[in-house]
Structures are given as C-alpha cells and as structure tokens.
Symmetry: C2
Subunit: 398 residues, 2 copies
C-alpha cells in the first residue's frame, strides 16, 4: 500500500507538503506542486480514509438505518421498501453534494434487539438518519448522546429529537375533502394500518376532522391492516364480507400498497372502482399509477424528506445542542381516476395545510382558508401541473 510517506520520499519533500498539495489550498510553489502531483499519479496514491478521519477527528460519513424486511426471498411486500429507497435517494443526493459518504445499515427487526450493532455504528459515523419508530425511544436517546440523530417521517410533535416529516394530516384531509366535495361521497370505509405508526395517526386525524366537519358523512367501518398489498387484499375481502350488501361510497386506504390490494380484491369480486366505490391511497409510490384505474393518492415528498433530513443533520453537526425541531414538508394531492375523477385525469395539486397541522402555523400563499376546502376548490379548477410550492415550515417545539 502506498502511503503519504512514500509519495513524500519519492518527491523529495515532506509529508506536510504532500498533504498540502492534495488539499490544494495552501501555498506551495507551482514547480513543487507539479512534482508531487506527478509522483502521486505515478504511484497511484490514494489517501487512506481511516487515517484521515482519525486525524481530522471527522469521518465525513453519515449513517442511514433501514429496516430489512424479515423475509429475505423475493416477496411482494418488498414494495414496502419503495418508500425508503426513495428517501434514501434523497439522502444520497444531500450527502454527496457535500462530498460525504453514506453508510447504510439494514436492521432486522424494529424492536431494537439489534441495538448493539446500532451503537457500534455510531462510532463509525458523524451523524445518523433513522426512520421513525425503527429504534425505540429510550435507545434513541442513548444514541443521541453520542452523535447527532435526525428522525425521518414521524410525529411532528416530537420534542426530544429532530424530525423531518411530511404533512400527513393535511394530505389526508385534502383527500377526504376531495371525495366529499368533488364526488359527493358520504359513507367511508377506512383500511387502516397499525395503530402506533405516527404518520398514520396523523392521517387518521385528518380523515376524522373532515368527516366531522361534513354533516351526513361518516365512517361505516375500518380494517386494521399492516400496510402491505396482501393486507389490502384482506381488507377488501373483509369489506365485501361485512358490507357487501351496502357498499361504502369510498374506501380510504392507509397507503398505496393497501389500496392496490383492495383494488385487486374488489375487481376480483366484480365491484367496479370508482363507479361502485371510490378508492384512494397515500404516498404516491410509482406502481400506483399503473393500476386500472390509476389510484388517486397523496404525494409524499420522499426524496425531499431525505434531502432535508440530511441538511438538518449537517446543521446539527455544526451546531449541536440546539433544541430539537420538527420540520414538516408540504404534500401534494395527486388526482387520478380511482376517486371518481374522469379516466385520464393526472393532476397534482399542492395541499393547503389544515388547522392544527404543523405547517398551518407558518402558512403559505393560500393559508388562511379554514380547512382543506381550498384544496377541493383548487381541484375542480384544474390548475397547471406544477403549481408553485410553499416553503417547508420550520417550527421550534416549545
């Protein structure tokens, strides 16, 4: 292995000079620089990352923790991972902009039995990005005291750790408002996910608030699913079994995977979507636009979640000790045809934050409308595809 010393010796200079040449900054005579560069090239020298990290007291690596699906073999539920893959791409972009690297760790379970590995990881990175609820809170805290940590997608009310998340509540409200006001749907079925997932709690809140605000509207049943296509199929079957005689007007699924499963089950049973029953998802993962009908959903800015989380983390590394904040990113309503909009519809509309969503406080251009009504109106008025976006909101928890 070629070291700095080899280069220095060969070029007849000191290691300090070589180091300076490599980092380009300091004043080195041109002739010296040239000589050194030539030797570096000839010897194929590449600085050792570990030694650099040790010496600089900075690794320039950030860690990203994913949950590995339990089942290793190819499996439809891998689609779950689409979400994190997209987030990761955002992180990747954020990280490499600054020339840093991304260290990925796949955890096996969500229950934190892998904590020793995580802890160990914290010695290899300058900061960590973790999906919400991937690591139980108490363990998270222990991690936080070693390295800066930013949690991606979680409760916007979190006060103990930095969080970057999307405005799930407003998205859900916009979706339901659209179903009610644009398509006159009144009786809803809710294909929900696990009760404890923070994002879902918010979606539930959005849904309930809108329902309550519209007299005559109600939820006629719900299914406790688990966010997978398979689980969606089960939700669909359960729906048919319990409400087959009088179908709801619309099914609101906790995410797109479930919506896809539900669509399969309904179609299988000869129920037409959206004629017999409307259907909406959440997240806007790609396959959602492939089904027939394509699924109306809410676009989560997954990529941007990754990027913002990364930026937040970098900031925390520079100025540690600031009070944790939550950053809530705006979402878009994505109208396709499973909600009842005409076939061929493909519209993407910024969602106006609802009252109580973290975004609402800072507001954006259209803010001030009392609820998601604004969105429904916008929806009918076929705005241009790429409407101007509001800035993400920065809120200090207090």
């Amino acid at each position: 292995m070629i070291t700095l010393y080899d280069v220095a010796r060969e070029a007849g200079v000191s290691t300090a000079t070589v180091s300076r040449v490599i980092h380009g900054q300091d004043r080195v005579r041109d002739v010296t620089r040239q000589r050194v560069n030539e030797v570096i090239e000839r010897l194929g020298y590449v600085p050792d990352g570990a030694a650099q990290s040790l010496s600089r007291r900075r690794k320039e690596i950030i860690g990203f923790v994913c949950v590995e699906s339990r089942a290793r073999q190819y499996d439809v539920e891998n689609m779950n991972l689409l979400y994190y893959d997209e987030v990761m791409r955002g992180v990747g972009a954020g990280v490499s902009d600054s020339g840093w690297s991304l260290l990925i760790t796949y955890l096996n379970g969500e229950n934190g039995q892998d904590f020793p590995r995580l802890r160990n990881l914290s010695g290899k990175v300058d900061g960590m990005l973790i999906g919400h609820a991937v690591v139980p809170s108490p363990l998270l805290a222990r991690l936080t005291e070693r390295v800066p940590v930013v949690v991606i997608a979680g409760a916007p009310g979190e006060t103990t750790v930095d969080v970057v998340t999307a405005d799930n509540r407003s998205g859900s409200a916009a979706l339901v408002t659209h179903l009610i006001e644009a398509h006159g749907r009144k009786r809803f079925y809710h294909a929900d996910g696990p009760a404890h997932v923070a994002d879902l709690k918010e979606r539930r809140l959005g849904l309930e608030r809108v329902i309550r605000a519209h007299p005559g509207c109600r939820v006629i049943g719900s299914f406790p699913g688990e966010l997978s296509v398979q689980s969606g199929v089960e939700a669909g079957e359960s729906l048919l079994a319990s409400h087959g005689a009088s179908l709801p007007d619309a099914v609101v699924a906790a995410n797109d995977q479930m919506a896809i499963g539900i669509l399969q089950a309904l179609t299988q049973a000869g129920v037409r979507v959206p004629e017999d029953v409307a259907l909406v998802g959440f997240d806007d993962i790609y396959p959602g636009c492939l089904s027939d009908p394509p699924i109306t959903t809410v676009h989560q800015p997954m990529r941007m979640l990754g990027e913002r989380a990364c930026i937040r983390l970098m900031d925390r590394m520079v100025r540690p000790g600031l009070r944790p904040r939550a950053e809530v990113l705006p979402v878009d309503l994505v109208l396709r045809s499973s909600c009842g909009c005409p076939p061929g519809t493909a519209m993407r509309l910024p969602v106006t934050p609802v009252r109580g969503s973290r975004l609402a406080r800072t507001g954006n251009g259209a803010a001030g409308l009392s609820t998601a009504d604004g969105v429904a109106r916008t929806a009918r008025a076929a705005r241009p595809q790429r409407a101007p976006r509001s800035q993400p909101a920065e809120i200090t928890e207090s």
Copy 2:
C-alpha cells in the same frame, strides 16, 4: 468524546485490558472484565471506527456504487432504480451477515467523469461493488489495482474483472421458446434497449438463437429504446405506426419497464394483449404483476446477485490475485397472462440453461436437453411453484 484511555483510567487498568474486554476473546479475570464493562456502560463508551480501522489495517466497509438518475425530481423513470435497490438489499444482507458496513455512492453520470470521487472512495473501503458499465473499463482497471472489485450484472465473458451476473441468454431463450411452442407465435417485434448493454446483448443472443432454430419464425421489426416506460410507450407507438396493419404475433421487450410502456400504448390504441398480440418483459420488477394483463417475464435473482457479489468480494479480499471469474446465476421463467397463458396464471419455472450460456457448461438437473426446449415442456406441465434450484455456476475464464 470518551476514549479507550478514559475507560482504562477509570477502571484502573491498561488500555490493552480494556481492548481485550471489548473484543471478548483474551483471558481476562472475570472480576476485571466486570469492572471494565461497568465503566464502559457508565461512560457510554463506543470505540472509534476510524481508529480501529487504522490500527487493524482493515475498515470492514465495502463500497457500492450506484448511478443516480440524472433527473432529481420524482420521475417515473425512477422505476429503473428498482433493479439496483433490490440488488442493494442483497448486498446489504451479505454485508451485515459478516458485521461489515455498506458505503453507498451515487454517481451522476455513467461516463466516468466522476472518477476522482470513485478513486477517493477506494481509500475508504476494503472492496467495491460496481454495476456493469457504470465505470468505463480503463478506469475500472485503475480501481482494481487498489482494491478488490466485483462487477454486478455484466458480460459473463469478461476476463479482466470478477463478475456476478444472471443467465440472461437462457432466460430470453426460454421466453421466446415459450411464445413459440406454447402459444404458436411466429412473427416477433423486438423492443430493444441500448446496443452496448451487456445484459441486453445476451438477451438478444437468446432471442435470435431460438428464432433461428424454429423455421417460419422471424423478427419483423425492432425498436431501439432505452429501457424506460416512456421509451416503451414510444416503442408501442412506433410499432403501431409501422406495423399497425399487420401486427406481429408477439412483442419481446428488453425489460419490464418497456413492456409496461408498450402495454399502455397498445391498450390506448385498442389493441388487446394477449389476444391481438402477446407481450413479454424481462427482470420481474414488482409492478409487472400489477398491470392488466400481468406481464410474463423472466425473473432475475437481483437479491441473490447482490449477495453473491458480496460473497465473491469477501473472498477476493481474503485471497487476492486469483484469476477473475464470472459467476452466472440461474433465472426463472415467470408465466403470467400477457404471453397468452390463461388469466390468473402465475407460475415460476426454473430455466434450463441453453448451450453457450455460461451456465450450460456446469449444467443442472435438466441440462443436456439440446436447447431451451426443456423449459417449454416444463411450462406446460404446471410444476409446483417453487421448484428445486440448480446451484449457480462457477466458471473460471481461461
């Protein structure tokens, strides 16, 4: 920051002892061990990765290089990335089994202008995994002289670097054989991808060989696409424009993305799949089973590609200097209904390697049949879903 010295001092022992306690191996009196462990716990000590790497002369990190799609914003073509995401998951599994870490780097272009970053990366890892053609050959060679490198998915005939790839040729042959022998298709349209992609070259070879072996069969046209859904739509439109009057019997797409695009274009034009024209894809990315009809394709063992590449790399790090080898993994034929099989078909059949494919040499249970015929027969005989798999073939290039 807490260091080993802090722990040693606090516990009243030497750093050597602490180090021994941490690594569990050496003989340390139980009482000492306990005392040290307690201090470690109390202080929340975590060893510094950089220092460990430097001292051990091993980083226990392997690098994985991806190509970042040029367009950063959300974009249907991200689906391209499904492939690498899946591979990466395999790599992740392989890596974490051994307790190592995975360093991801997103490159912007495929043309190697990012080489300095790559080169630098090689100083931070013990080995690298690179997608085929992501890095131009000459640059690859320069990388190889610094760290072990394994290329994923590429020409099985490669002799200058280690490669782990899938048996594209046999997969493609099996697909076309199935179309001919099970569904009597004779006139083919080929929606191809870029000419230089190694995997596609293999697929082309498989296609051509089977066509040639069946008198009366021929390719009536082809489209030079670029593996994206959009490109598939264009291929479909081009097909309709040039052969609308007398459609081919079947369209063979270079990958599933293109097949999906083609399906959209055909459906749009009122052409029925598979009644009017059969359609097949390649890769078996998840959304392929969501379309209507679901797309018949060839399953690439993406996850396993990642795992095997990882294993190969580990091996290379232990015993460098061995002659580069290619490892070709078997593929499965995935029958759904876009090929003409009845709706509801969902069958997965191991593909018998064709002559000339690298796998054929070592063969598997069914090897010895002269071509892919064996597959076609198997296909009709509705075997159990999970048939026993042959071992991947190890071939030393010579």
